[in-house]
Amino acid sequence: MTLATEQFILNIGPLHPSTHGVFRMRVTMDGETIQDVEPVFGYLHRGLEKLCESHTYKQNIPITDRLDYVSAINNNWPYVMAVEKLAEIQVPLRAEYLRVIMGELQRIASHLLAVGSLMNDMGVFYTAFMYMFREREKIIDLLEMVTGQRLLYNYMRFGGVSMDFPAEFIPALKRFLNIMPSYLDEYDSMMADNEILLSRTKGIGILTPEMAVNSSASGPLLRGSGVKWDLRKDAPYSVYDRFDFDIPTGNNGDCYDRYRVRMEEMRQSIRIINQAIEQLPSGKEKVMVPLRIRPPKGETYSQIEAPRGILGCYIVSDGSTKPYRCHFRAPAFINLTLLQELLIGQKLADAIIIFGSIDLSMGEVDR
């Protein structure tokens, strides 16, 4: 006997504990199974790209902070790189190292948040989240030591960075790098072999490499599917070609692989920072550039490997003090286009986890 069933529409978000901001999904459900997903964007739209056109180049740096507010330093980077390329500004070597160290610290902080909130979505009542925030707090303290800020650092400048490291920073950073691997082991001992976690994440939300490449996904989402593509290795920018590190990849492309890739990337970031501290050259942290730079007419594109994937910045200059057009390739937004393919046919509980494993920040998606 079959019962007559009726589909119903469930609104997940914009105010929902697991939508990581103000994302909204209109989900057509058949019981617990998802039949159709319609993502609704724009609740956090602030018109940042348009805003960039009415500010001078330098005034735009803090605006890029607001793109992906959990990895602000990485957001400055493609923008300043693009402007430097356009205006042909040489960055001192020390500044590049400072950028790498701060960027990798920010990557660890961002991944901690991503994994922690993934665990939250899975129903670990904030335990993993709080442990990861304990370490994220240490990183934020370090970043605060340099920049004076705790969330939006406004750190990079054309031709360098805003501040050199203070004297007490390097010892504090070394202390942190010494203990961080043991904390990562602690997370693994709590989560990696947990039977419920395995059964909730293994084989859930499988993203095939073809699908990932076709939809131009990037970051841990792409590497979790087994595609070894990381701009730090494959198109090295800044001084990344001087470091020895591995690109972790997954095998199945499921939520578990994405989680493992993030955990492993944190270890690799620690490796990079350790090498960067050893190689750290002396010199100036920035070169003097005019307050109102006027890059020559032209356009340029630069991209970096942000925690969430490839973050690109496309700038068109008309020779004035303000960019004519400034566009950002937001990795979370492009990864999010996979949502429909990943979610349809899954259970509601899995959908939340898959959504969490994509790891987006709405500031970047809506801009």
Partner: protein
């Protein structure tokens, strides 16, 4: 207190007096336990999570629950316009009252019990299901899709986990030779957790599902269903549902204590102290699970009930029945190690079997 109550028993008009005293005691016990459990949960889970927990209201934050109650009482009481008003009002009460009814049959110490039902186990398994119906109704009445999903999950979970729970209780009844809770406690010269470890595991998991605790908190599932069945509730009605959740935890801890940890029995301390200590110990175990484990998906939870717990409960029932028929006078020194060994083996084998099934299913 004991002798005093027994002396009351012999006086005229004693029944109603005893009834009144016990009724007041049970309500006071449940309420104060709930307040203490809320405080314990918040403080202990905070410690699990490397933070402090509420510590502002009163010494060690002890008055936090009271402050929360005052806050909740002064909140606006909203009833959604499309809600079923009658059900919306009555559902929290339907959910809450059965927990008090169960507590009425629990022996707090020797002879200190509201009613000693000779079908106590049956009564408990019957009444505990009513509570689930209250939660189901509260989910349906609010006319909210999240709470509807939560309500459906509650019923699915009730149907699935009630069976292994009752089966594990059945083996307990066979071993103790009575359905009366007093007799079950009296029969536990050695606590049942040692005599029937397999039954304890099954009962523990099933009771976690019955009281909707992690990893079976699918009904609330805050990361999926915002708040599950009580999404639409506010004000005092929400407080009553919150109270239900914790009084269910109190009842669950009391049942584990009575059935498997030897009830009020123990050396040195008075019975009620032992009872409370064992209750807190079992509640701590629940908290430990809550702060560590992720939530199961609904189909995984059903799989666990039907494919995991039901066979285990049947094996347990079978072994206990065999032992009672063929070796009723077997020495504890032989039966306990053998049975613990059998339980561990069965659990490991069955877990391995289930895991194997899952792997072939997934990849």
């Amino acid at each position: 207190m004991n002798n005093w109550l027994i002396s009351l028993d012999n006086s005229v008009g004693n029944f109603w007096l005893q009834f009144l005293i016990m009724a007041v005691f049970i309500i006071a016990f449940v309420m104060s336990s709930v307040i203490m459990f809320i405080w314990t949960e918040r403080r202990v889970i905070a410690r699990f999570q490397a933070r402090l927990g509420p510590n502002r209201a009163g010494p060690f934050g002890l008055f936090q629950a009271i402050a929360d109650t005052v806050k909740i009482l002064t909140k606006e009481d909203i009833i959604p316009s499309l809600a079923d008003r009658v059900l919306f009002w009555t559902a929290p009460a339907i959910a809450f009252i059965p927990t008090l009814m169960i507590m009425a049959t629990i022996p707090f110490m020797n002879g200190f019990q509201m009613v000693d039902l000779n079908v106590g186990v049956l009564f408990i398994s019957a009444v505990s299901a009513i509570s689930a119906i209250g939660i189901f109704l509260s989910g349906v009445a609010g006319n909210n899709k999240y709470s509807l999903i939560g309500a459906m999950r509650e019923i699915a979970q009730l149907i699935s986990f009630e069976i292994p729970m009752v089966l594990s209780l059945a083996s307990l009844v066979i071993a103790c030779g009575s359905m009366s809770l007093t007799q079950i406690v009296a029969a536990q010269n050695v606590p049942n957790i040692i005599l029937q470890p397999l039954g304890f595991v099954v009962f523990m998991v099933a009771i976690l599902a019955e009281i909707n605790r992690t990893p079976f908190d699918l009904v609330e599932a805050d990361s999926e269903l915002t708040c599950g069945f009580n999404t639409e509730y506010s004000g005092m009605k929400f407080a009553l549902l919150y109270l239900t959740e914790y009084s269910e935890a109190v009842v669950g801890a009391a049942l584990i204590t009575t059935f498997f940890l030897g009830g009020w029995r123990g050396p040195f301390l008075p019975g009620i102290m032992w009872f409370v200590v064992k209750m807190i110990a079992s509640f701590m175990f629940i908290l430990w699970l809550r702060s560590t484990l992720p939530r199961l998906r609904i189909d995984q939870s059903m799989h666990l009930a039907w494919k995991g717990l039901l066979p285990l409960a049947l094996v347990n029932l079978f072994v206990i029945a065999l032992k009672n028929v063929f070796f009723p006078d077997l020495s504890l020194w032989i039966s306990v190690p053998v049975y613990i060994l059998v339980s561990v083996l069965v659990i490991l084998l069955w877990a391995g079997f289930l895991r194997k099934g899952r792997k072939s299913l997934v990849v």
